[in-house]
Symmetry: C2
Subunit: 269 residues, 2 copies
């Protein structure tokens, strides 16, 4: 039976609201996700929140009821609340009717089973949470296994990244590693490391990509460090006809990931 909270001063509300800050997320090892669509996708992927807050007026929505039942059955807590509290939790002027609080996932490389998928995305020092979430969403679409974050990336559990991922945070595996540890792990098994770089003449449509393909994108402003690029099996570049000679990191990753997917589709066809 859901309890009700409508007081701003409620300690749980204060604690959950704090999860919008990285420091508190790391202390609590929990993060926020908003919206019935994303929470339902998480549920379908086998992830249930520890806490779910929902607006009283959406209590009779079938998916909300199913979610609340599932959370309570799993030992979590469902909390009926109002728009003001949801606004306070989400920080959005127009808050979603449902907010979930999830335990952070483990992000060790040791949990990554590379044979599970033919495409893996790898991002180095990615700074923008929107880009990170968008790359997760693309990974979901192309059937990638997950996203491996190298060095100091933005937190994948930040509210902005979770939001931009549109639920893919729950379907994609997330790992985090320093570059030398990633390389050692990668070279201990099969895998082609393909770096996207402006310092190459190899057109991204020229190579035949071998599975599992690890698509590596560098930092938004700097691109890949030279010594990282030197360790790749291949460096490739999209054609760029314009003045700017660069693409958004999430866009470049997607164009590249669809090329690999299209090659696989042709070879199966």
């Amino acid at each position: 039976m859901p309890r009700q909270i409508t007081a701003f001063s409620n300690p749980l509300v204060k604690r959950i609201r704090g999860l919008r800050e990285k420091r508190h997320r790391k202390e609590e090892r929990m993060f926020l996700a908003e919206g019935l669509r994303i929470l339902t996708e998480a549920r379908e992927a086998g992830r249930l929140p520890r806490y779910v807050f929902f607006a009283a007026e959406s209590a009779h929505h079938r998916l909300v009821q199913e979610l609340v039942d599932a959370v309570e059955k799993a030992g979590g807590e469902a909390i009926e609340t109002d728009r003001d509290i949801l606004h306070k939790l989400s920080g959005k002027d127009n808050p979603q009717a449902v907010v979930g609080v999830y335990d952070e996932f483990a992000t060790g490389l040791d949990a990554v089973d590379r044979d599970r998928a033919g495409i893996w995305l790898v991002a180095q020092s990615l700074r923008d949470p929107g880009n990170l979430g968008t790359i997760l969403r693309t990974g979901d679409a192309v059937g990638a296994g997950g996203l491996i974050l190298i060095d100091d990336c933005v937190d994948p559990f930040s509210v902005e990244a979770v939001r931009a991922s549109m639920g893919a945070l729950f379907t994609q595996q997330i790992a985090h590693a320093r570059w030398p540890d990633f390389l050692a792990w990668l070279r201990a098994g099969p895998g082609q490391l393909v770096g996207m770089s402006l310092d190459t003449d190899v057109d991204y449509q020229a190579p035949h990509y071998a599975a599992p393909t690890f698509i590596l994108v560098g930092n938004e402003a700097q691109g890949l460090p030279d010594d990282y690029a030197a360790q790749c099996d291949l460096l490739v570049k999209m054609p760029m006809l314009g003045k700017a000679d660069s693409l958004n990191a999430a866009v470049a990753t997607a164009v590249m990931a669809y090329e690999v997917l299209n090659q696989r589709r042709r070879s199966q066809g």
Copy 2:
């Protein structure tokens, strides 16, 4: 000879700072762009700011000097200032050393010469300024002619959109139209209108695209309205293998635009 401004209360600083709000941009018909790289690309594309603010410590940078000279020669004004003022103008904690204030461009469809490019991007009710800027940047990369905004889109001259475009705002043509006016203009000349939709079984790699191709992307949350989709020459869909069955709007546009570009590259090869 640049004048110096270091007082927050300076009326020009207050006025320029106001351009971060749409209301003031529309009144003044001017907008902000930040960063030497973007301002230099604008200059190379033939666009000079009416005002250029630069940090005193970057006054001896060659590109800053060239920019200042060009602005003054063209009758604009160069203003030497400090980091605090630049922070105030840009709203960023770590402001760029140069901020330019440009006259808004005309955005009528009548200025669009469709024969100038084989790809045009069209976005309907796009809401996110980052997506809009990213689509402009992609347009620059694929050699598109420009971006046509349909119905109520986010302002392409917002600080966030200009930033995300990485200078492509100055190399891509921007037009704005209501849907019926766009359709009337489109049908008065050659052009294939290709809508991206989830409600089709046509794989985006199946058709042969005819130039000029107009790639139409819908609102981030709603996609294209059904009656807009019905007016397209073709509806296509990217394969999506995951749970979410959707892509970020800027990502979908880029994957589609590169498919058209790749077809053109093959037919020329």
